[in-house]
Amino acid sequence: MNAPRADRAAAAAAVVVASDVTLYREGLAFVFAADGRLRVSHAAECAERAAQCIAGGGADALLIDAAMSGALGVLAMMRDRVPRIPVVIFGVPALDEDLLDFIEAGAAAFVSRDVPSRELIETVLAAIQGQVVLSRGSVTHLLGRLAHRARHAGREPIVPPLTARERELASLLDEGLSNKEIAQRLHISVATVKNHVHRILEKLQVERRGQAVSRLRGPMNPRIQARD
């Protein structure tokens, strides 16, 4: 016999869901409620709000959208302050070049948008139990990345290198294109462009795109290094 809904909700693990996409924030709450083993304790629409929710206590895990601006910063904060709470990144393609950055920042597990709801839930539950969850494709990809980094030890850039996609986008920034023009050129949404630009600014440790362009044009710039 199934437990009453209220009892099941109380027993469910509490998850903070962080995404700037409303459909994911509210939709995942429906999915978790239907399954009964997880519940959304807080839904955060930005990195700052996610950090506040975690700091407030009571969460068993953080499920955060990889495309959300400031996601890496939240992971860094949690690694320092609440390392016991696992962070699961969703929306990461299995071969995404950002995977290693997220792992270094303390992420426990990854799921792409191509996984079914049940697999997402199982991944979060496994992370809460202390497991690290990666797909086979991700492991292969990560080992390759780690080997690359080992070969280039000592010449490693101070900040994370730009991914191939970010370099492509950075070159368009250098041409002076607007976000809308970049979106049209690359056939992606303006929101996706904004996410990439934000990530570039974070990695280059600058605040404005003009500064990023100047940094990219620097003749002896050790911080910009291709990954492949």
Partner: protein, 142 residues
């Protein structure tokens, strides 16, 4: 398959919703959302790639929900209106932040002064897919 298991508990005029090409995570969310609506019923195959003309012809959905990767989605789905003229296509952008609803409809204008020039102008305008109605015409469906 959703149609067989869900349709028995819905009203006669339930809106038939079919989920097409989209990431599995989004599909799971939408299945959960739609399955709780008393006036809607999910129809069609439960896996991806349902947005084929064959599936639309077989399940006759009122609304096809898709979230394709490409921005030029209308060209991919326009042919489905031939199978189901009353179909609406709800296309969610790949970033899941917004969507568009598309439907096929008939545009009509009244050509009140039926002079030869008015007939020719109306035909030319329609065939040129002009958005500017000839002076003599009155659009009826706005």
């Amino acid at each position: 398959m959703f149609g067989a298991s869900v349709s028995s508990r819905t009203d006669v005029a339930a809106i038939r919703v079919m989920l097409g090409e989209m990431p599995a995570m989004l599909r799971g969310i939408l299945e959960e959302i739609f399955s709780h609506q008393r006036d809607m019923v999910l129809v069609g195959p439960s896996d991806a790639a349902a947005a084929s003309a064959v599936a639309v012809a077989a399940y006759r959905p009122d609304v096809l929900v898709v979230s394709p990767d490409e921005l030029d989605w209308p060209t991919s789905y326009a042919s489905l209106f031939g199978e189901q003229p009353r179909l609406r296509v709800f296309a969610i952008r790949d970033d899941a932040r917004s969507a568009t609803m598309s439907e096929l409809y008939v545009r009509r204008w009244r050509v009140s002064d039926l002079a030869p020039d008015a007939i020719l102008a109306a035909i030319r305008a329609a065939c040129a897919e002009a958005h500017v109605v000839p002076d003599a015409g009155t659009r009826l469906d706005d």
